[in-house]
């Protein structure tokens, strides 16, 4: 008998994932699922799925789930956590969901210091609706609503969400990572695990921003997509810990 060296996380269901080739939602789902299993909280975890390509994430995570309206996941998570504090509540949101329509909800959930975990997937585009410009779309990046490339004097500069969230007095832990290659995937896993550990320890609001790809929306191959993350996104969205009250306070 061979030895099992790798298997699908018990935190994921057997449902085939609906994501496009080269999209990193699947990779990120796996990291989140592994963290929940390793921390021993899968059985009391509640996913708040948002609106975007990951709208059906509740089919993939092997835990309870609530599907929220576009942008409202942090408010829905607040409601769940307040009446069911023993639940481990996390939102999974794209950049259209969190950084455009849901800016109010994410900022105020952090302001209240809600003891929840936010997984924020920044792919610099609206994937699900066919590749429109997002608040995080880079200058000169072409999308279906910025066909000549994003122009600063029309759309402003791309929103730096982690930098903004770190300024909020009551946020606890804010880190930006990337899932585009193996060393960064390992760092992403660590950050996700920490964000859940904080919730288990009752520390308050944690958000992990994960740079991700959208080969279909960007009109590039999967390999070119990971290169775009490395060469264009990481320089504008620097990786690192933006806030860790655990470090400050300890």
């Amino acid at each position: 008998m061979g030895k099992v060296v790798y298997e699908k996380s018990a935190g994921l269901t057997d449902s085939p994932m609906s994501y496009c080739p080269g999209c990193l939602h699947g990779t990120i789902h796996k990291l989140v699922a592994e963290s929940l299993v390793e921390l021993g909280v899968l059985d009391r975890s509640v996913l708040v799925a948002s609106v975007g390509c990951s709208v059906v994430a509740y089919q993939f995570y092997n835990c309870d789930a609530v599907q929220a309206a576009h942008g409202r996941a942090p408010a829905v998570a607040t409601g769940i956590k307040r009446v069911s504090p023993e639940s481990i509540v996390f939102t999974y949101q794209g950049d259209g969901d969190l950084a455009a329509i849901g800016t109010s909800e994410i900022i105020h959930a952090a302001h209240r210091g809600e003891n929840i975990t936010v997984i924020f997937v920044n792919n610099a585009i609206y994937g699900m609706t066919g590749g429109q410009m997002a608040p995080t779309t880079l200058i000169t990046q072409k999308t279906s609503t910025s066909p000549k490339g994003r122009v600063e004097n029309q759309a402003g500069l791309p929103m730096k969400v982690s930098e903004m969230m770190a300024q909020i007095p009551s946020s606890y832990y804010i880190e930006r990572v990337s899932a585009h290659n193996v060393p960064n995937i390992l760092k992403t896993k660590k950050a996700i695990t920490k964000a859940f550990r904080n919730q288990i320890d009752g520390k308050g609001f944690s958000m992990v921003e994960i740079l991700s790809t959208c080969p279909i929306g960007w009109h590039v191959t999967p390999v070119e997509a990971t290169k775009f993350v490395e060469s264009a996104m990481v320089p504008y969205f620097p990786l690192g810990v933006y806030k860790d009250e655990g470090e400050v306070r300890s």
């Binding site: 059985d43 509640v46 929220a68 408010a75 409601g79 769940i80 009446v83």
Partner: protein
């Protein structure tokens, strides 16, 4: 024992006594006493109070808390209820119970803060997307407001639907003696709620369904529940009797004023009866069937430019002339004014 209480505060007290454990709201006149009262009393009773960043957030907190199986509520007034419509549609779609208290003011837009009944459409026809209804109770006194708040939680949980209690700023601000009954709400099955699983199958509260075949069936099933609500929960008060020449139709605050107008009409020799819809959805259509042959006119009075009048016309189905009299913008009719208008109609002036 009766205590003297403001409508807005009595609603809160009733909700807490009915086992409400979570309140999520945002300030807006004329319902500010609700979040204010809840901010202390909810904490005292061990529940959750959150002053949300907006009505949009508040209704979505309700959505989450309800999905976790908690008995929860929100309250607001006209422009704030407008912002809750998206959330109400999602609550209806995900079959989640909750109470929404609407203390209406004048409109449209920011308009004024004085009482009005111009949110009948907003309450009964909804502004959220999709095929759904929401039971709406329209009390006419502080006592009824407390009774229906408690009843609302029961209806919400029995049929798994958001429920609204609609009053106007006048009932919200008015003080009246009120007695709290010991609410006896059955324990409804909430095995669908999310939270710690302890080995059970996972629960998903959701409204997304990309399969037209299954979505159609889901919506048809929900409408079967609506049929049960129509059969079991429709409420109306009617004083119409044989010999009445005219039926006055009014709800909430207007109904109280109409009662006086009907007395005044009687003294002047015009026999009138009152139909007071207590549930606005389901609308009490049956009360308009088989009216005595003596009835020649139906007069709807509302503190609006005429909204419920359309439901009355549907119920009357062309069998009688349906007239309307209303004031709006925060202007409130007095009973002689209604009596005068009804007299003109009856006399064909």
């Amino acid at each position: 024992m009766k205590i003297l209480m403001k409508g807005n505060e009595a609603i809160c007290e009733a909700a807490i006594r009915a086992g409400c454990v979570g309140f999520f709201g945002y300030p807006i006149t004329p319902q500010n006493e609700v979040p204010e009262y809840m901010s202390t009393k909810m904490a005292e009773s061990g529940g959750t109070f959150v002053q949300a960043e907006s009505e949009v957030a508040a209704i979505n907190m309700v959505y989450g808390a309800s999905a976790a199986g908690a008995r929860v509520m929100t309250s607001s007034s006209s422009p704030g209820i407008a912002l809750k419509q998206e959330g109400i549609s999602y609550l209806a779609a995900a079959d989640l119970p909750c109470l929404i208290v609407s203390v209406s003011r004048s409109g449209p837009g920011l308009a004024g803060i004085l009482p009005s009944q111009s949110d009948y459409f907003q309450a009964t026809k909804g502004g959220g997307n999709g095929d759904y209804y929401m039971p709406v109770f329209a009390p006419n006194s502080v006592q009824e407001a407390t009774d229906f708040v408690q009843k609302s939680f029961e209806v919400a949980e029995r049929y798994r639907t958001p429920v609204m209690v609609l009053i106007d700023g006048l009932l919200g601000q008015m003080m009246e003696p009120v007695e709290f009954s010991a609410p006896n709400i059955p324990q409804f099955d909430k095995s669908w709620a999310v939270g710690p699983r302890n080995g059970r199958e996972r629960n998903i509260r959701n409204s997304l369904d990309l399969s037209p075949e299954s979505l159609e069936q889901t919506n048809i099933r929900r409408f079967k529940r609506y049929d049960e609500i129509i059969a079991n929960e429709t409420r109306v008060e009617s004083t119409v009797q044989d010999g009445d020449e005219v039926v006055v139709v009014a709800y909430g605050t207007s109904a109280r004023i109409a009662v006086n107008a009907i007395e005044e009409l009687g003294a002047a020799g015009i026999k009138a009866g009152l139909i007071r819809p207590i549930t606005l959805w389901p609308f009490p259509n049956a009360a308009f069937q088989n009216l005595p042959a003596s009835v020649k006119h139906v007069v709807v009075v509302e503190l609006s430019q005429g909204q419920m009048v359309f439901d009355v016309k549907l119920a009357v189905a062309g069998k009688l002339p349906v007239h309307f009299y209303g004031r709006n913008g925060g202007m409130i009719f007095e009973s002689p004014e209604i009596a005068r208008e009804v007299t003109k109609i009856v006399r064909g002036e």
